[in-house]
Every structure is written in structure tokens, then in C-alpha cells.
């Protein structure tokens, strides 16, 4: 966390507009991101867009379950905006619980958010409220669950056609856990 007087300009603008709904400014390897309340997600993006951040570079997520020292809700959704006139960038982040992860859609502000949000729904199960076409982007409709969440079994696959010598992921995972316990690594 960086002290308020060294926050980047975009964070200061957000602080002025959102007040306490700007939760904090995170710093990771020298890059600062404004963490906002999930309810203020769309408002924050609209404000930044009105200040010249007119290009959505990226929108993605990460599941921080079990991440050392992580206090906030586990599902972190982040985005990067770029100002084509100012050549400046802004990073925005919101943390959501795993159950009922919801955010307002940005697809009315940025057309490209449509597919970013579909991918984010596909992989992390973040429901973007108001999205015009929220269906899986990469995986198939029959797929159950969201595979980039930490609670998705790492070896579990969901074949569409019968597979010979398919991996029994549960027994493999159990064997790995047992081996890790034996090594005293405490992982698995």
C-alpha cells in the first residue's frame, strides 16, 4: 500500500469522486492499482473514461484463495485502461466472494468488454450483471464449473466423448497429497 500523497493521479481522481468506496491503493512490483468496492465498479470506470482513459486494454481475474497474506475476498477482478490522448494508464481492481461473484458489466462503456467478461465468466465464474450475451467464450456449454478457480480439481477433465485410459484425477491427486505429506512439505 502506498501513502496517499504518492498515489497516482487516476487514484486521486477516484478518491475525490468515490470517497470511502475507493478502498485502498495496492502496489505490486511498483505498479499501483485502485481497489474499489464492487458496487462502485461501473461508476469508477465511467469516471475514468470521462477523464480521457478511453481504451480498455484488458480485463481479467485471479483467485487469491490461499494466497499468503491475502485478507480481502478471494476473487480479484482487475482491468487496465489506457488514455489514447494522455498516453497514461489506470489500473482498477475489485475483490469478490467466490459465492455470488457479481459485477456490473462494462460492455455498454467498452464494446471489447463483452468478450473479456465472457472469458472471465467462463474461467472464474464472475457474473457480469447486464451483459447482453453472458455465455462461455472458450469452453463448451456442457462444462461444469469454472476451471481457473482454486477449488476446481487441478486434474479434472470433462470429456465430451468416451475416452480410453483417461486419468482418474482423484486417485492421482490423493497419491500426490500422500507423497507431499510423507515429504513433510504440507502441500497437496
Amino acid at each position: 500500500m502506498s501513502p496517499a500523497n504518492s498515489s497516482p493521479a487516476f487514484a486521486e481522481e477516484l478518491r475525490a469522486a468515490l470517497g470511502p468506496r475507493l478502498l485502498r491503493v495496492e502496489s505490486w512490483q511498483g505498479r499501483e492499482a485502485a481497489v474499489v468496492e464492487p458496487e462502485a465498479w461501473l461508476e469508477a470506470v465511467r469516471l475514468l473514461k470521462s477523464r480521457g482513459y478511453d481504451f480498455l486494454m484488458d480485463l481479467s481475474a485471479a483467485d487469491y484463495s490461499g494466497f499468503p497474506g491475502h485478507q480481502a475476498p478471494p476473487l480479484g477482478v482487475s482491468l487496465q485502461l489506457f488514455g489514447s490522448g494522455t498516453r497514461r494508464r489506470a489500473w482498477l481492481k475489485a475483490y469478490l466472494p467466490l459465492e455470488g461473484a457479481r459485477l456490473a458489466t462494462l460492455s455498454d462503456e467498452f464494446a471489447c468488454a463483452n468478450w473479456y467478461e465472457r472469458e472471465c465468466w467462463d474461467m472464474f465464474g464472475v457474473e457480469f450483471v447486464g451483459h447482453p450475451h453472458l455465455k462461455r467464450l472458450l469452453l463448451y456449454e456442457e462444462f461444469q464449473g469454472h476451471p481457473l478457480r482454486k477449488d476446481y480439481p487441478i486434474l479434472k477433465s470433462q470429456p465430451l466423448i468416451p475416452m480410453r485410459n483417461a486419468v482418474d484425477y482423484e486417485s492421482v491427486a490423493a497419491a500426490r497429497r500422500a507423497a507431499a505429506d510423507e515429504d513433510g512439505l504440507g502441500r497437496g
Partner: protein, 157 residues
């Protein structure tokens, strides 16, 4: 039978051998290219290495006209039914080559998305290792496959 005039003009062989000879030099490929291995496949098919020299470079982009299915690249669970359908549409006799480690065993992918080797749902005749394989490896596999076709029992369907 010295002096037999037929010996001058007739060569005798077995039906299996002559069919094998015809089949191994007229392989029509269906390239099922899904990933980066495709670049190496193109390099091998191109004029520099030129698989046409071995009578095995003619690509047909319809499975109904092909007898050699080249599976080049990672096959995902989403893609698997499509590949199975392509295979089912090919006429006998047909052969399958797993090109590169992803088609062979899933390679370094072991996750929710990838099939751990196309032999989970297709019979594979030749596996080509490498990530990606060198053109020499591909040509070696092709020659071995031709050898196999030459010496197999030729089913007449």
C-alpha cells in the same frame, strides 16, 4: 522354363505386396492442424524438405478423400468430437499419425482442457515425438509408416 516368352514381359508378385506398394506411395493426407506444430508441418511439406518426394504430401481438405489423418497439435476436449467425426468420415484403409507430443500424450498440458493424447479415442499408427518435431523426425516417421503399409495385410473391403 527356359525360353518361356512370358518371362521377358511379366513380373509376378503377391497381391498384398502390390497393393501395399500402391497404397504407400499415394497417401492423401488430411492435415488436422490445431497448434504450433503446424508451422513445422508446413516446413516439412514445403520445398526445402519436400515430403512429395516420398509420395505422401498430397493434402486433401476433405476427410472423404483422405487416407492419412495427420493430427498436428494439441487436441482439447472441445475439439475431440470434431476430430472423431473427421476420422469416422474417412474411408478404409486409413492411418493416423500423432504429430508432436501434444497429439501423442498431451505434452506438458495436464489440465481441464486438453486430451492426454489422441489415442484416448483414436487408433494411432505412428507417434512423432518432439515439441515440435524436427522435419527429419517427421520424414523418418513417414518412411516407417510406409514400411508398415507395405508389409501389412491388405484388407480388401
Amino acid at each position: 522354363m527356359a525360353g518361356d516368352p512370358l518371362q521377358e514381359v511379366v513380373v509376378t508378385t503377391k497381391l498384398d505386396r502390390v497393393l501395399g506398394w500402391a497404397r504407400k506411395y499415394s497417401l492423401f493426407q488430411y492435415p488436422f492442424v490445431t497448434a504450433c506444430c503446424g508451422m513445422e508441418f508446413m516446413a516439412t511439406s514445403g520445398s526445402h524438405y519436400d515430403t512429395d518426394r516420398f509420395g505422401a504430401a498430397f493434402p486433401r481438405f476433405s476427410p472423404r478423400q483422405a487416407d492419412l489423418l495427420m493430427v498436428v497439435g494439441t487436441i482439447t476436449h472441445k475439439q475431440a468430437p470434431i476430430l472423431k467425426r473427421v476420422y469416422d468420415q474417412m474411408c478404409e484403409p486409413k492411418w493416423v499419425v500423432a504429430f508432436g507430443v501434444c497429439a501423442t500424450s498431451g505434452g506438458f498440458y495436464q489440465n481441464y482442457g486438453s486430451v492426454p493424447g489422441i489415442d484416448c479415442f483414436l487408433p494411432v499408427d505412428m507417434y512423432i515425438p518432439g515439441c515440435p518435431p524436427r522435419p527429419e523426425t517427421v520424414i523418418d516417421a513417414l518412411l516407417k509408416l510406409q514400411d508398415r503399409i507395405q508389409n501389412q495385410r491388405q484388407a480388401l473391403l
